[in-house]
Amino acid sequence: MGKTTAEKIFEAHLVEEPFPGTKVLRLDVVLCHEITTPIAIDDLIRRGKDRVYDSARIKAVIDHVTPSKDTKTATQAKILRDWARRHAIIDFFDIGANGVCHALFPEKGFIRPGYTVIMGDSHTCTHGAFGAFAAGIGTTDLEVGILKGVCAFRQPKTIRFNVTGALPTGVYAKDVILHIIGRIGVNGATDRVMEFHGDTIDAMTMESRMTLCNMAIEAGGTSGICQPDATTVEYLWPFIKDEFTSREAALADYSQWRADADADYDQIIEIDASALQPVVTFGYKPDQTKFVTEMPDSPLDQVYLGSCTNGRLEDLRIAAGILKGRKLAPNVRGILSPATPKIQQEAMREGLIDIFMEAGFCVTNPTCGACLGMSNGVLADGEVCASTTNRNFMGRMGKGGMVHLMSPATAAASAIEGRIADPRKYL
């Protein structure tokens, strides 16, 4: 019997199985941000265990609220900063170099096929786009990860998604994943890995694959996983060119993590991507989805472009393509938070930032900001936002506020019309 990607990674990283079904894995990278790490640091200090297992394998960023907005967020940033200095964490990203964790860390080349990755953040599943097993965990698991470089998991089963067909105009990775969540439900993949296959995925850029894997957790998934291929190697090449003699050699090595043809799956789900239309959420759960054409008239107060789901250069290019030469509707505010400084700078060079600003958008520095309702665009009670983020929970972007999740293209079209709109007429 063959193995899934996650099974191969589990086998290669197994430290021990202390109890049947519970596997303690060695970790390749432990990622940290300033919201969930300070309490772990504080607890380690109180236990007299203020140590790190390997300062080169721990990466940290201040990203959720940056620059700090008040004394409390400044204190969180300071705890992380002081700790990073104390333990000589080389890859620590502070103001000027910081961006949304799940966009920044891959951009730095920290994630490789076959890796085990944890972070005290549910959207850690994003990194599975590289063929890694990447899982969000809580602060206690993070604490042990920092201290010992291990984490315990119940071996997850795997659901295989065969996504086939060319994406129609106006339909993107975000629509695919929203559609999948709508189909299997918010706990349709609980304790499962979502392994993505098919020519639709093969044709996707790494950015799109990250968007896809990012929302695995919204279906309850432990990790989203794509198969490492030539696209993965090409993305990583600047970081791995000294490790391999050629791209072919890298591909041959990384291919060991591809699922076997005869692997055993918990479920196999077929998705015909060519039949999709732009997808939008309508309620307070990510599985409440409709095609944009089925949406009732939905006026908006705000449009938000950014986050670890859709704040990458590809997303900004798509949205700017629609917004070029057009203006925000008078009833909406537009906010763009590019996910990393590199993305922001590149968007500036390409003239995308000009397009957004001429359309009437406010462009912020890279940060999570409004995505979790902490800063840079929190909604007032009763307000509605069209957003490229990943969570539409009640109150997520501000108490009493409502969020509709959608692709950058749908968000851009909606910004122009001031209500949820079909992007296809602008393409």
Binding site: P18, G21, G120, S122, I137, L147, T190, G373, R391
Partner: protein, 175 residues
């Protein structure tokens, strides 16, 4: 080891997420204790009052499917812990929430829908309470003059975490 059992807080809905358990704006608190007043602040559920006596007295939460979905924040188990709630009983849990509970030495116990329906039949009883025995894996629910018993599953690892009081000391000793 923590103590388990006492008055029940009934939350009769599926998919209660961690933003409802503890809103993101309180994630800037540095100590667990500071979270105490904000328990379930954003949860809208008919008959539920986050500041009411039922919430205040509760030692156990009983809910439905996919409890604790959403963010990885361990603040969700912590806000229960500092309010004296050490166990959540539900039809199913989101993975991270469930693991966080056990990592903190708390209990996240799954029961069938049929068992939960029986427990929910006590939701109007002012004296509804639960006794949880981790050793024998038995729950006793009482209220309105009735008592019912249920058994539950607990993996050896989860049980070891509960007995050890959490994962940090357990792991530091072992690895």
């Amino acid at each position: 080891m923590k103590t388990f059992g006492g008055p029940i807080l009934f939350l009769d809905r599926s998919d209660i997420n961690t933003d409802e358990i503890i809103p993101a704006k309180y994630l800037t608190e540095i100590t667990k204790e500071d979270l105490r007043p904000y328990i379930l602040e954003d949860l809208k559920l008919s008959g539920f009052d986050p500041k009411g006596p039922r919430t205040e007295n509760a030692r156990v939460v009983v809910s439905r499917a996919n409890f604790g979905c959403g963010s990885s924040r361990e603040h969700a188990p912590w806000v229960f812990e500092v309010n004296g709630i050490t166990a959540v009983i539900a039809e199913s849990f989101a993975r991270i929430f469930r693991q966080n509970m056990f990592n903190c030495g708390m209990a996240a116990i799954e029961l069938s829908k049929a068992d939960l329906d029986q427990i929910f039949s006590h939701s109007e009883d002012a004296d509804a309470a639960m006794n949880i025995d981790i050793e024998t894996r038995k729950l006793t629910v009482s209220g309105g003059g009735k008592t019912r018993e249920f058994s539950f599953e607990l993996s050896p690892f989860d049980k070891a975490l509960v007995l050890a009081g959490g994962w940090v000391d357990y792991a530091d000793l072992k690895y």
